[in-house]
Structure formats: C-alpha cells, structure tokens
C-alpha cells in the first residue's frame, strides 16, 4: 500500500511539472495554483509514507525498469531514506504554499508557469534521489536535480548578476556531478555492480579514490568551504522559494548521499572521519564569520547555510571516528545529531529564507542597511523571522538548540574515552564549535535588529506593508514545526524508539517561560512610569534621525576587527596626474573592499589553469588535413605496438 502511495505522490509531482508545460503560453494564475496544489498534496502523501516507514521500520522496495542484469532503476525506502523524504515533505509543502502567492508577484508573465513546473521537477528529482535503490539511479536523478535547480536559478536570466550566478552554479554543480560519477564508477569496478553494497577494504586505492571523489562531489554540492562559493551567488539570485528549497533541501540531499555511502558502501577508516570533521569545523567557523560580514540578507542566509552544513558534517565526521574507534553508542548519538540537525536546518532555514523573501518583497532591497523598523509594519513576518533566528542561533527551547546540544553531548562524553591525540582534536573542535554557535547568535541578533528594529532607514522600508496571507501561512507552518520539534524533541525520540541523553525540552521551555514571566512582572511593577521630556543632547528617541541609529555595520565592526586577518581587506588606489613628474593631481579612484580570498586564490587560478590547458589542447585541432592524418598514423602504430607488447 505504501508503494502505491509513494508512486501516487511521485505522479502528483510529475503532474505538477507537466500541467504548466501544457499551458505554458497562458499566463493564468489557476495553472500555477493547480501545479503548486499538486506539490502540496504530493508532499502530504510523501510525509505519510515516510512517517510510516520511520515508525514501522519496514523497507519498501520495488523495481521500475531493468534493462540489464547489473543495471536497474528501482526504489528502496528504508529508515534513512524515509527520514530524508520526511525532510523533503516537511519543507516543500509550506514552500509551495508560500510560492503560490509569491510567484504571482514576480515579473515574467507566462514564464512563471515554467517556474512553478520546474519547482515540482526539482522536488521530484530530490525525492527520487533519496528513494533510489542503486547508484545508477542515484546518479541519474542527482543530475536531474542539478539541471532543474539550474533552470530555477536562471529564472531572472535578463539580469547580468543572475547570469553570473547561474554560470557559477552550473560549473560547480557539474563538477560535483563529475566527482560523484567518478566515485560511482570506481565503486562499481570494485563491487561489480551498481547496488549499494559493501566494499570491505578501506586500504584499497580504488576504494579510497572512490571515497575521496564522492566526498569531494558531495562537499561541492553541500557548500563545504572551500567549495562554497556558489551558494552566496546562487541564493540571492534565485526566486525566494527556490532559495528556500535549495538551501533547505538540496544541501541535505548531499548530506544524504554522504551518509548513505558511508553507512552502506564503505567501511570507513579513522582518518576519513577526521577529514570530514575538519571540513565541517572549517566550514562552520568560516561560514559564520563570513555571514557576519554579509549585508545582503539572502547572502547572509547562504553563508549561514554553509555554517550549518559544517555542523552537520561535524556530526557525520564524529560518527565515522567513533565507529572506527568502536564506540557504537557515541557514534549513534553523533549520527542522530547530524540527521536531526539536517531536519532542523531544513525547517528554520527555509523559514528564514521565506520571511527574508517577504521582507525583500515589501522593501524592494536586499541590503539590510536600507531596512529597519519593519517590526511595526510587518508584525507577523517579524515574529516569524524572530522564531527562525532563535532556532538558528541555537537558543533554547527551539529545535536548533536540541540538535546542537546532542552534538555537544557527544563530544563532551567522548573526551573521557578516546586516546590523547584525538582528545586534543576534539577539544579544538569543541572550542571552535562553541565559537560558531556564539557568532551565529551574534549574526542573527544583527540581522533581526537591523531589519526589524529601530527606525526605517529608507522610504521603501517606511512604506512597507505586511505580505498577503498565503505568504504568511507557509512560514507559520514552518515556525510551528520548529517550536514543536524543539519542545517535543525528547518525546519524539522516545516515540521513534531511540533513547538520547537529551533533557526534556518541555521542562526547559516551561522554566524559561516562567523566568520570562517573572522578569516581566518584576519590571512592570518596579519600573517608574514618569514621563520625561529630554532635550539638549537628544538621548531620548524623539528627535532621533534614522541615519544616526545603530547599523548592522556598526554592530559587526568589533567582530570585523577581531577577525580582520580572515577577512583580508584590499586597499586599491589609483591616481592620474597632469604631468610626467606626478606632481599635479588630475583624478583618482580609491577603493577599500573585502578580498574574496577563495575566489582570488583558488577559483580564479583554477579557471585560468583550465583555460590555459584547454588552449594548449585546442592547438591539436589546427584544421589541416595532413596533421589529422598524422594523428591517425601515430595512433595506428601505437595500437600495433601496444598489441605486440601486451
């Protein structure tokens, strides 16, 4: 029965994709609404299936197409797949709800039909990646997902910024696909088939190459530093629901791939775990440090995604390390923390992206320095953004706190068990992780403060209005999910039959509520209510100018100074003179800008190198018949010699 439900859900997504294609030239709201309703319905069905699988532990397996004995396209949904299907279902339904209104406010006429259709295709591809029973299907749908997401990113293709972002994203995502393909081919050489079956020897160079290749592919897709650069380009450029889906779900699909291969295929070594852990820690710390400096609200959320993916990778790395050290209990907790954080991040990141999209929709700018004072104009949106911020800053009692706490507990407990060198590593990671959490909190205090509080800093911000109801309904669902998962974390784990060393968050929440109530009461009764009229130095708020208020830049300035060695500003100054001796100044430009370290030292040299080698190789094609004949001649002789010697 679950098989049929799953198939119906997939068919609904497919219908959601094809309906707008049929009427692609008709600019009708009904078409888009129908398409997105299909998404919501399919997500509900998918959620049912995944919950059933998660609770019962049954594995749903069925074959679709089998052209050869070794090559087959089938689906298999076990608890891991079921969990990620739940993540997809939980995020895509609210996002579709939001998109049904948001897409109507976009420009582009009937192109919006394609946008709605491709959104469905994208979700369908992700569902099928997760449900695939073998590596070939996994790869096929992985590429479909990449293609669909590229089309979505390129929606506003007439904007040069979007074109640049799209190109960047396309190259990075194809690199990722290429590495995944290498890994899968290497594994199929070793295992003899494309099934997710174990290859036991980690020391085998082919298996090692397969792991490194897959790790690289998944890291690029997940946005692990230093392969992260596509995120801050692609997220701001794409329409909001697409950013929410990409950040909330697509990055998790990469996490799913890594976990799937680590669990089912490889028998990991200790140093694999250390590699994953270090990649995670570096991404977490650098991601949040860059997020602090970012003033594009969607760009900041993109960097924050990098940070959270780093935290998830830390959990996976710890899982591998503990497995290799044969500490199954700790390994279980770490993996659980990573997976739980995946779910939580999917929820609160899509919530934040959607509300940020509402803010951008209302103010027509993405720069948080031009916002401010929106709490009065958009009270519901600001409350929703606040919920997301509290969750992502890992403050109790919301869900971000629960999952990060699990990870902290895993590291704390392990310090007494593992050998000294690992202990040092763990302590360093623990310190950096704690720093990450603190900086994330600072980052979202800054974001919330400069977007919603104080006075409006631009006329658009002053004239902003609350968004339509549908654009509130989706985020409300996500915020409720964040609260429920936070407060009921312990109970949910008990329900799933897993015992975790988490405190009862309900109790924590209650304590916090009581504390808040007591504080409020105490302040209410003790505060003086006398009216003061102030002048002279204007420290009261009456005469204050918006431009004189505390800005986002101002808030992050101390942190900028602390981390200035990481940010690396570049000062450029060019002067032109009237005379030869450079004494009579004519004109000049000066610029202080943040250096894009990874772009300038990693991406551009890599691009230049590949361009140079391509030019060198292109010389072989010189258009002269004789040269081509020479190639054929040399090849024939080489083949002959090869046959003779082998």
């Amino acid at each position: 029965m679950y098989t049929e439900t799953f198939l119906i859900a997939a068919a609904l997504y497919a219908a959601g994709f094809s309906i707008p294609l049929i009427w692609w030239s008709r600019d009708l709201r009904a078409v888009r609404t129908l398409s997105l309703s299909c998404t919501i319905l399919a997500s509900l069905l998918l959620g049912l299936v995944s919950v059933a699988v998660l609770v019962s532990g049954n594995v749903i397996t069925f074959m679709i197409y089998r052209p050869l004995a070794e090559i087959s396209f089938g689906f298999s949904i076990d608890r891991l797949s079921g969990f990620f299907l739940l993540v997809i279902a939980a995020v895509s339904a609210p996002v579709a709800l939001y998109a049904s209104e948001y897409y109507e406010h976009l420009e582009g006429g009937s192109r919006r039909n394609l946008l709605a259709g491709c959104t469905n295709l994208f979700i369908l591809a992700m569902v099928l990646v997760v449900a695939s029973a073998d590596m070939l299907g996994f790869f096929f749908f992985w590429e479909l997902m990449a293609a669909a997401s590229f089309l979505l990113v390129m929606y506003e293709y007439d904007n040069p910024g979007t074109r640049k972002a799209g190109l960047f994203y396309f190259i990075m995502t194809q690199l990722s696909t290429m590495f995944v393909l290498f890994g899968i081919i290497a594994l199929s050489f070793r295992a003899g088939s494309f099934r997710f079956s174990g290859v036991a020897v980690p020391a085998d160079p082919v298996v090692l190459a397969a792991f490194l290749s897959l790790f690289l592919g998944f890291s690029i897709k997940a946005g692990i530093i230093p392969f992260h650069k596509w995120l801050p380009y692609a997220h701001p450029a794409s329409p909001t629901p697409v950013s929410a889906l990409m950040s909330g779900l697509m990055l998790k699909i990469a996490v799913y791939g890594l976990v799937r291969f680590l669990l089912d295929v490889f028998a990991p070594d200790l140093w694999w775990g250390i590699l994953i852990l270090l990649a995670g820690v570096i991404s977490a710390v650098l991601g949040v440090i860059y997020a602090l400096k970012e003033h594009d609200i969607k760009g900041m959320l993109a960097y924050s995604s990098i940070e959270n993916i780093g935290i998830i990778f830390m959990g996976i790395g710890l899982f591998v390390i503990f497995s290799a050290e044969s500490l199954p209990l700790l390994a279980g907790i770490s993996l659980l923390a990573a997976l739980f954080h995946s779910l939580n991040h999917a929820l609160f990141k899509s919530l934040l992206f959607l509300t940020a999209g509402s803010v951008v929709h209302a103010t027509h700018t993405r720069d948080i320095e031009h916002m401010g004072g929106l709490a009065c104009h958009m009270p519901v949106t600001s409350a929703l953004f606040f919920t997301g911020s509290v969750a992502i800053a890992a403050l109790p009692p919301l869900n971000g706190f629960a999952s990060e706490l699990l990870l902290f507990i895993a590291i704390f407990t392990s310090i007494t068990v593992v050998d000294p060198l690992l202990k040092v590593l763990f302590l360093v990671c623990l310190a950096l992780f704690a720093l990450t959490s603190a900086l994330a909190a600072a980052c979202f205090v800054k974001a919330f403060g400069s977007v919603f509080l104080a006075l409006p800093r631009s006329p658009e911000s002053a004239g902003a209005k609350e968004v339509p109801r549908m654009m509130l309904a989706g985020p409300v669902l996500l915020a409720l999910a964040c609260i429920v998962l936070g407060l009921g974390a312990y109970q949910l784990f008990v329900l799933a039959g897993i015992s975790v060393p988490l405190p009862d968050m309900m109790l924590v929440g209650l304590l916090l509520a009581v504390m808040a109530a007591l504080t409020w009461t105490a302040l209410y009764f003790t505060a003086s209510r006398a009216e003061r009229i102030s002048e002279t130095w204007g420290c009261g708020v009456h005469l204050q100018e918006p431009s004189a208020e505390y800005t986002g830049h101002g808030f992050s300035e101390p942190l900028d100074i602390i981390f200035s060695s990481i940010y690396r500003t570049r000062i450029r100054n060019e002067r032109v003179f009237f005379d030869q001796k450079n004494s009579i100044f004519r004109e000049g430009t000066a610029e202080i800008r943040l250096m894009k370290v990874f772009e300038e030292y990693l991406y551009l040299p890599a691009a230049r190198f590949s361009l140079a080698s391509a030019t060198r190789i292109a010389r072989f094609q010189n258009g002269c018949l004789d040269t081509y004949l020479l190639y054929v001649f040399i090849t024939v002789i080489a083949v002959m010699v090869f046959l003779g010697w082998s």
Partner: protein
C-alpha cells in the same frame, strides 16, 4: 602441374617487387612516374593473385585478379593521367612533416616494427607457412606507407595516390591472411573508382573552361604557386 616451391619463390619475388614500388611511390618527386608506378604496383598485385590461385586454386582469387586488373591497372590510372595532363604539374616539391628521404628511412623502420609486432601477435596462431606471414607483414607495411604518402604530400593528387596504394595494402593483407569476401573487395574498388572520378570532376570539371578550372584549382589548393599556370 607447376612446382609449389617455384610458385612460392615467385610469390616472394613479387612481394619484394611490391615493396620496391611502394618505396618508389614514397620517394619520387616526379608525378608522371608516380601514376605509372601505381599501375605497376597494381599489375604486380594481379600477378600475385594469379600465383596464389595456382597454389590454392580458389576462384575468388581469379575474380580479384580480374577486377583489380580492370580497375586499378587501367581505369583509375587513366583518370589520374587525365587530371595530370590538365593541371600540368610535373613535380611534387612540397612536403609536410617528412621529406622523401626521411620517409624512406622511416618506412624501413616501420617494416621492422610491423614484423616484430606481427610475429608477437601471430605466435599462437598456427601459421600455414612462412609465406603468409611474410605477405601479412608486407600488406600492413604497404598500408602504412600509403598513409605516410598521404600525410607527407601537400598535393591532393598525390594524396589520392597514397590512398590508392593504401588500399592495395589492404587487398594484399586480405589475400594472405583474412580472405575478405569478394563482394567487399568489389565494393571497395567501386568506392575507389568513384573517389578518383570525383577528384577528376573537382579538378578538371565537366564542362568548365580553362579559366574556370584554374580558379577552382586554387580554391581547392590543388596547385600551389603561380608559376604552374599555363
């Protein structure tokens, strides 16, 4: 009945003759002797097929001999001679990558390589006798030498001759080792005739005037310098 040993001796001599013609084709700069050398090579090939027929008495060999004689020794050389008469190039002095002397030396080395490689590849196959192995080596060498002619000469007309000599190599190899089906052999020859016809039409033209075809010659780079204009 003719003595087998005598026929085998004759075959060996003919194979050496073929090598000599190939060496001449690769090294000469005189275009007129190039085409007669090609027809000589084809005639040698015909004789070779006849000698093999004496040895094996397979009717296919007779058919091959007949077809080769008509097409390669008469029809194709006739067309090429027509072209040469029209375009009035007597000498071929432009080369790519390899000069005639180098290509001669190179082809010697090539024959050695082919010999070593083939003796390695065919070591497990019970060769019927040494003669067939020898034929196979000469066949492949002839093919590669024809290719060398194609890549080292700049004129289209010599390229065509190189291609034709390459095909002779294939035919030789087929006669000695694999025994190509006659129908395929026949089809290849028809292809060759069409190729040569096309070259003729391209260079000379069906109904073009003198000025016209010179323009065309320049367009297809069949003649290089201006001194060859009439």
């Amino acid at each position: 009945m003719i003595d087998t040993a005598l026929v085998q001796g004759i075959i060996r001599i003919l194979l050496v003759c073929i090598i000599i013609t190939a060496a001449y084709i690769i090294s000469t700069r005189n275009l007129l002797s190039l085409v007669s050398m090609y027809s000589l090579q084809s005639v040698t090939l015909v004789c070779l097929a006849l000698a093999l027929w004496v040895l094996e008495s397979s009717p296919v060999l007779l058919a091959i001999a007949a077809v080769s004689l008509v097409s390669k020794a008469i029809v194709i050389p006739y067309f090429i001679a027509t072209i040469q008469e029209k375009i009035r190039i007597r000498r071929d002095i432009e080369f790519h990558f390899l000069s005639p002397t180098t290509s001669l030396l190179f082809s010697m080395a090539l024959m050695l390589v082919v010999y070593t490689v083939l003796s390695h590849i065919l070591r497990d196959i019970p060769a019927r006798d040494n003669l067939f192995f020898f034929g196979a080596v000469i066949g492949i060498s002839l093919m590669l030498m024809g290719m060398m002619v194609m890549l080292s000469r700049k004129r289209a007309i010599t390229k065509v001759l190189g291609f034709l000599s390459m095909e002779n190599g294939v035919l030789l190899f087929g006669m000695f080792v694999t025994e190509l089906p006659f129908i395929i052999e026949f089809l290849i020859i028809i292809d060759l005739i069409i190729l040569v016809l096309l070259t003729t039409i391209l260079t000379v033209g069906i109904d073009s005037t003198l000025e016209d075809y010179h323009k065309r010659l320049h367009r297809f780079r069949l003649v290089g310098g201006t001194e060859e204009r009439p």
